[in-house]
Symmetry: C2
Amino acid sequence: MSIQEREKIVASERPKTVTLAEVAAKAGVSKMTVSKVLREVGNISEETRQRVRQAAQELGYLPNSLAGTLSSRRSRIVAVIIPSISDIVYAEVLSGVNAMLRPSGFQTFIGESQFDPTVEADLIRAMLSFQPAGLLLNGGMARSADAEALLARRNCPAIQLWDCDRNALDFSAGPSHEEAGRLVAKHFFDRGLRRIAYVGAELDKDLNARRRHIALKSSLVAADIDLVSVTCEDKPRQAVTGRFLTEQLMRMHPEIDGIHFLNDAMALGGLSYLHQAGLPVPERISVVGFNGTSLANAVRTRLTTIDVPRTEIGEKAAQALLRMTKAEPMPDFWQARLEMVQGNTTLAI
Amino acid sequence: MSIQEREKIVASERPKTVTLAEVAAKAGVSKMTVSKVLREVGNISEETRQRVRQAAQELGYLPNSLAGTLSSRRSRIVAVIIPSISDIVYAEVLSGVNAMLRPSGFQTFIGESQFDPTVEADLIRAMLSFQPAGLLLNGGMARSADAEALLARRNCPAIQLWDCDRNALDFSAGPSHEEAGRLVAKHFFDRGLRRIAYVGAELDKDLNARRRHIALKSSLVAADIDLVSVTCEDKPRQAVTGRFLTEQLMRMHPEIDGIHFLNDAMALGGLSYLHQAGLPVPERISVVGFNGTSLANAVRTRLTTIDVPRTEIGEKAAQALLRMTKAEPMPDFWQARLEMVQGNTTLAI
DNA sequence: TTGCGTAAAGTTATCGATAACATAATGCTG
DNA sequence: CAGCATTATGTTATCGATAACTTTACGCAA
């Protein structure tokens, strides 16, 4: 008999769940006493404690959090909705959230909206039905009327991630995307570049990226410089798209000497084309990405980018949530510090 | 008054939750009728349906899934515990799981064990307390006695991810790591290489990686070839470590002409050193990574690696879980197909 | 017209815990 | 030693839903 077969049998004759009442019976006390002992509240004699703990141990008691939460109306679930789980950028924020919440006994519920407001609204509904202690949402998305209505009816704090420029919720943690756009403009100014382009994708979905784009454009316009934008809405925000669009850009505007990309992945794709086309970076053309994701996986990179403290964003958001559940006072937002990281000129891998 | 201030007031005077009973009162029917209408079960006249739906709509009724699950003992929560959220490899599996489960109305609960068996056991306990419909665990970890005991008491199916070589649970979905090790050996054999090294980190935590390592070694030994292994347990499995260890390796064993790395990130770090040291890849030395993660973000890479269908692993695991909840028959495991991807020799970015 | 099957709605018990209050036993003060 | 605070434990009601059964009303065949 294989391991699988053996276990499948076990699975069919699943052990029945042990409840508080059974532990109470075994320990010879009331359910309430057991509950108090296990939650470590109230006054229970040391001797009873021991008996109860022993009984719980022997029966293999596992509390039912659903019942507990329902009864106490105090939840330890935190719902997080991010655009994409497999995008390292959001995953790292999530990691920060998790790291901060777990020691306090909170569990994270995760939803993936894929930048779709309809999906987001569905997720908010599903999440709220679990009576979470808090809701963490991504700021850079259009929100459906449905979602707004659900949020208005929420009875838990809601926090916005990734964006501190504007916020209709209780707290926001993230960078200022307007500042990011200005930083990029300054980078080009400092180098005396005046033929600037922007390359991005799916800007209709990602409002944060759109705001960076607009801020860059405004800063340039203020200096009487025009911004050439090459974007497309139906291709992924990945390296391949960055490469493709950069090729298009350079064919149509060979004079360009500075490009800002929506993110690092697209920028790396762009670098790839520029290298192949014999346009040295940064001598002939300057390239700026966004996120600082290229830094983590490469030992050295020639990509200049704006590093965003992603894990810290998650941590700050989670901290704020913890404070709010304790009704402690706190500010309305936390602004993440952006850091422009100069790429070195060593060969990139 | 700022947006934040306005919302904070709203937050303090939170809307009280609307229950089934209130909807029932408004619609002039019993709670049960409302419950049946909203779940679309039983025989309810069209006219009543309309009245109930309207009442629910107007009151902004949101079901309480905790109460529902407690009462019906049928959960739509699926618990997933992975070693790291921000490691793209696990995040992509998660994405596959999510994509498959959401259409069926399941919600994913996520835990991050950080390769720590103690943390994993704690998470299993926490997850089980939410009465999940299923549990997805990572296969490549040592499991604590505590965790084993909890799993034995589970009353839901449990599935193992990332590993189909052995399984003590109900189903497993993943590659054979032994096959992966053999594939790498074959790759070196085919090129007539005989001075082979392995570079890895944290092998004490990642049993899957350890099994690949052992399989590689066995295959080589069978061909009378020795494997030089350079590993360390206290550095991250990242590019920097790969670079550092490769440098050590090549100083001590300059004759090496083939290296297998624990993962792509470390391999890229290794490539970086080899390039700097003037050792052309693959002419002078052959490099093989693992995972195929380098493929996603780069337009072209010189890294040879074994591609693993991560999203598919998640999908298959989720599918199996869905089947098991319906008590449908199914095999014990799904073996992911591994694909050796040859790096091209174009300059990598 | 009787009897029975089905449609449509309601009643009661329950899921597994916790809150809030009640009670019993103890200790301590004046 | 009465009286009261404190400690230790138990009782009852409740959280918000669903399962399982019951009741009522109606239609139609014999």
